[in-house]
């Protein structure tokens, strides 16, 4: 079953267009170009000696005020995932009140769970020397929010 000249031409143009867009995205584009964004999974270089950063949240619940406990930073729990929070650290430190929206989303997504009354973003730095984790972990609090 053969295709006519016109049917072939527009298909060839589509493939050419897709090729140009995917290549342009990889050459000069960024994530905002999706679906033509660069294929950059695991593309950054990590120094053989340095630290691997892992960000998480800790919360206080209505049941146990004053006690910080780690909470899963997952979409099921907060509507957002870890990478989405990691990418917004500057905005969060500039305006920690934003963290309150996570507690609100949590209350809507998990109506049965104890309410979050305070929330803080914690950065863990796992020290790596010569491609091997040394076991040393440095922890710091980046931003904090409390319900009023």
């Amino acid at each position: 079953m053969r295709l006519g000249a016109a049917a072939k031409s527009w298909r060839a143009v589509v493939v050419l267009g897709l090729t140009v867009m995917f290549c342009a995205g990889s050459l000069v584009g960024d994530d905002h170009w999706w679906p033509f964004s660069p294929w950059r999974m695991f593309s950054t270089s990590q120094a053989a000696t340095g630290s691997v950063i892992s960000t998480g949240i800790e919360v206080q619940t209505a049941n146990a005020p004053g006690t910080w406990v780690p909470a899963p930073l997952t979409p099921e729990n907060t509507g957002l995932n870890r990478a989405e929070i990691e990418g917004r650290i500057p905005q969060i430190t500039a305006d920690p009140q934003r963290l309150g929206t996570l507690a609100r989303s949590h209350a809507e997504l998990r109506p049965g769970a104890p309410e979050w009354t305070a929330l803080r973003v914690v950065r863990r730095q796992i020290v790596v020397v010569d491609r091997k984790p040394t076991g040393e972990v440095r922890t710091s609090v980046l931003a904090q929010w409390e319900a009023r």
Binding site: W34, P38, R40, F42, S43, T44, S54, G87, R131, K132
Partner: protein, 290 residues
Amino acid sequence: MTRLGAWLFTPMPLARVAVLRLLVFAFVVVDVLGLHTSGWYHGWADPVWYEPLVMGKALHLPAATVLLVQTLKWGCVAAALAAMTGRAPRLLGWTVAVGWVWYQYVAFSYGKVDHDRADFVVALALLPTVGLAHLSDRRRSEAAGFALRAIQLAAVATYFLSAWAKIRFGGWDWVNSATMVRAVVRRGTPVAQWLLEVPWTLHAFQWVLFAAELTAPVIFLLTERWRRRVVAGWFVFHAMTYAAITIAFWPHLVMMLAFLPLERGAAWLRGRWARQRPTRAGQERQEVRA
């Protein structure tokens, strides 16, 4: 030019497209319901976290709401199930394409873009162009050949372009960096922990992976037998990655099936089914007699 055209439009069995469509639409259902659900949860995220991508700015796409994510989720499932019947392949196929792309957009416009799902857009957009294709239609068609070739090209391009991204963002030194160590530290499974104890393994793996990605387009120059071996090799690589860091590029794995003679697998399955049914009926008759 004519040779390139002949290659792009090599006639392929319509049944192969029919089987691939079934797999693609079945995948959409599984993906939307279970595999990639972060877009759904964005319905509950505050709009303050919404960060429109270029596509969203051009099309004036709004921030997610619960109503929007529910509509997209169940709309995708309904359209994909309807498309699996093979009827109205263009209308239903492109409805699935629009729904799935929008759903991914909702997932990716909150600060994190997944880098493994874009090639699937090519499959969703081009599979409908073949028109009607029946599962048992062994006739070869240029339209089918084109769709399959375009999907193969997109799937292989992801390997090459991800090697390119490593050079662009990681530098030539990427192969000597500790990127894999970082991945295993952050999300390594118990299976992968020994890799951290023997650091040269992950280092060597980076060299092998980079070389394989950069030379991936060679697959189009191989004989059919070797082409299938290479595809099998990539499947092994993806299985290993999943075992080590529980990351799998699911939509891409479906795309890679475009290299395989899927219609033969379908015919084999149907043959088994047809052979089994009479025997089962026969057994029942025997049971009744006894």
